[in-house]
Symmetry: C2
Subunit: 399 residues, 2 copies
């Protein structure tokens, strides 16, 4: 019989204690072995996925969602590569990030430590199941993975494979659970199990984020929308600006780090705007003067001509989603001012907003991009799935 | 007319943008000047406080609460010392904590940055008003301070003094607001203003924490209770153990880091327990075998004899509040195991649980002690009132 979410969470809490003290070698062996077993059992995994996809097609799921749901030989290879990459990253757990003595003679250390139990809620994308497990586990955490219900067969099989590999390595299999009930009430209950779950990470559409926001009493780190701006300064190199703005929109219009709005200093508007229009026409991008603050997720780009950098910064303060903003300028003072006053999770100078991404910024992997400043801000890699404890050694100190 | 909480929060958001970019010199000048003005206006502050105390006495407030509400020449001197101490701490804002180049040629920096707007909810302790402002402000944040209603006159005067000093230094006075309405509904609304408030820190009794926990949609960092354990190992020096256990209870029984339960390895129980009993009798401490997991906040200490360290660790896992645990042992392996397996915010070897405190651990000051692992775990000093942004410099990179 399926376990209740309360039972799953209690199991995860117990397993998290074991996961927290695993050696890097054991964790990496689990990840490598998981990659191997996924290769061995590829036909079975693809068959489970076909079940999900057929059901979703019958139910009339739209094409982009079907695409995200579907696994293939290539996507399984990517999944395996991800596991190997995460195995090759340094283990964050146990790192001493600071060490000093205080006047009482105590030796104080801050030690990087797992968060404990992480619940993740995401869309029907089975690739995320393995990816999220690998990141949580490498950072010493147990995880509860709640993927979209359309991926139930795929996720249940991937979870059962993962749990077998854990058990073979002497790790409690509850270090990973797939939570596949589609009972909305059970999901609400999950969001309040603060004794057994330390963090909830929602990743998905606005509806999901709002649901979690309303019902969670557990801390959450969430990624809302990305309304990313590029400011083309008076001293911008216009060739550079055109490439950054155009590719920032077209290279992946539906991602959160794509450029949604360009702010143009009036002194370069006459030179820049006609070139931008021509390029937008060529790229099939619709230019709009207005609709500010909108995450189009489509081939639409808004623009505004601003009299100076004050106005550009004021516009961003009004409309930012705190995700990513960029300035194009050859003026070092302007760049410094922009990076100081704009407090978004990632601020770029002379580079595309599309670089706000865990891989591109050198984290090796990411579980999502946080747009709230608590706990993690920007791409969340392994370190962002840990906390820091205090470990203090004395020789009998009292007070 | 008093502003609504929505107006206060909007003002704080605007002021936070200015506060985030202040130079350390300006912030320190504000803190020093505030100390000076508090000294100048001492009679007026004490008079406002007398109004609060008289009203509280008429309303029958209990003696410990009256004591916390009351200001004196000495407590104002302490308040001023606190301001000077915080002025003397290094400015965390703008520190580059990491800097590297990625293969695309981008230079990636992580830059310590303010959280934005911090709301703090606390008891009727006017000293906290100035202390919390100073910490939030030094870390570049605007703050909204909601103290217990019994301290309204004191808090309103302290806030008006602070706001004048801010204005004199060209800082928007909304970098600090006291929220003194006692409308419960308005407080509930505050807890949902996630556009304008970045973090809520509740500090107070279980009722307050529960209220915030239930109603907040803004991230919170909270300190629940402290059920702190000391494990007296088979290889403990018993003189050391006795001092650590006895003073851990008696030196400040009502604080969250006081020792509530001692776990005694059975091989030393016959030698240790009679000495502990004698000392407890002398100190007026009641020893109880039971009531595990209770934060007594009083001269009561529970104890349990355990067969081995496994049992001690299992007991702690069952009853811990994740605040503080200590081991007394001369065995380095035992100490290492304990500090690895116990994942409380602070784990001590041969030292009192009372050292889990921002001042004692060298932070210079603290705004509270977090017992949840998200964002901050353990004492929260200046750094814990900041986040880290990504600042990225390129020369035209696109993808």
């Amino acid at each position: 019989m399926a376990r209740t979410i309360e039972e799953i969470a209690r199991g995860a809490r117990a397993a998290s204690r074991a996961a927290a003290t695993l050696h890097a070698g054991t964790k990496n062996a689990v990840l490598h072995e998981l990659a191997r077993v996924i290769e061995d059992r590829e036909p079975e995994i693809l068959a489970a996925n076909v079940e999900d996809v057929s059901a979703a097609e019958s139910a009339g799921l739209d094409a982009p969602k079907i695409k995200r749901l579907m696994l293939s030989g290539a996507s399984l290879a990517q999944m395996r590569d991800g596991l190997v990459q995460i195995a090759n990253l340094p283990d964050p757990v146990g790192a001493v990030t600071r060490s000093y003595e205080v006047p009482s003679g105590l030796r104080v250390e801050r030690v990087r430590s797992p968060l404990g139990v992480i619940a993740m809620i995401y869309e029907a994308r089975p690739g995320v199941t393995i990816d999220a497990f690998a990141l949580c586990f490498k950072a010493g955490n147990a995880c509860i993975l709640k993927g979209g219900r359309e991926a139930t067969h795929s996720n249940e099989l991937l979870a059962s494979i993962t749990r077998s590999v854990l058990a073979e390595h002497g790790v409690p299999e509850d270090a990973m659970s797939a939570f596949t009930s589609s009972d909305r009430d059970e999901m609400k209950r999950m969001l309040t199990l603060s004794d057994d779950i330390d963090l909830v990470i929602p990743r998905g559409g606005a509806g999901l984020i709002r649901f979690v926001h309303e019902h969670a009493t557990i801390p959450t780190v969430q990624h809302f929308e990305g309304v990313c701006h590029v400011y083309v300064d008076a001293r911008a190199d216009l060739d550079t600006a055109l490439e950054i703005v155009a590719t920032g929109k077209t290279s992946a219009p539906a991602t959160c780090n794509s450029t949604e709005c360009v702010l143009i200093h009036e002194s370069v508007a006459d030179a820049f705007l006609p070139r931008l229009r021509a390029r937008a026409d060529a790229d099939g991008v619709e230019l709009r003067e207005g609709d500010y603050g909108t995450e189009f997720l489509d081939l639409i780009l808004s623009y505004r001509i601003v009299p100076d950098m004050d106005a550009a910064i004021a516009h961003i303060h009004e409309y930012t989603s705190n995700h990513t903003e960029a300035i194009v300028t050859a003026d070092a003072d302007a760049a410094d001012r922009f990076t100081r006053e704009i407090q978004s999770s990632c601020v770029l100078v002379n580079a595309s907003t599309r670089f706000n991404d865990g891989f591109q910024l050198g984290l090796g992997a990411e579980i999502g991009i946080s747009t709230s400043r608590i706990h993690a801000y920007g791409p969340m890699g392994l370190e962002e799935l840990t906390c820091q404890r205090w470990v203090v050694r004395g020789n009998g100190q009292t007070r």
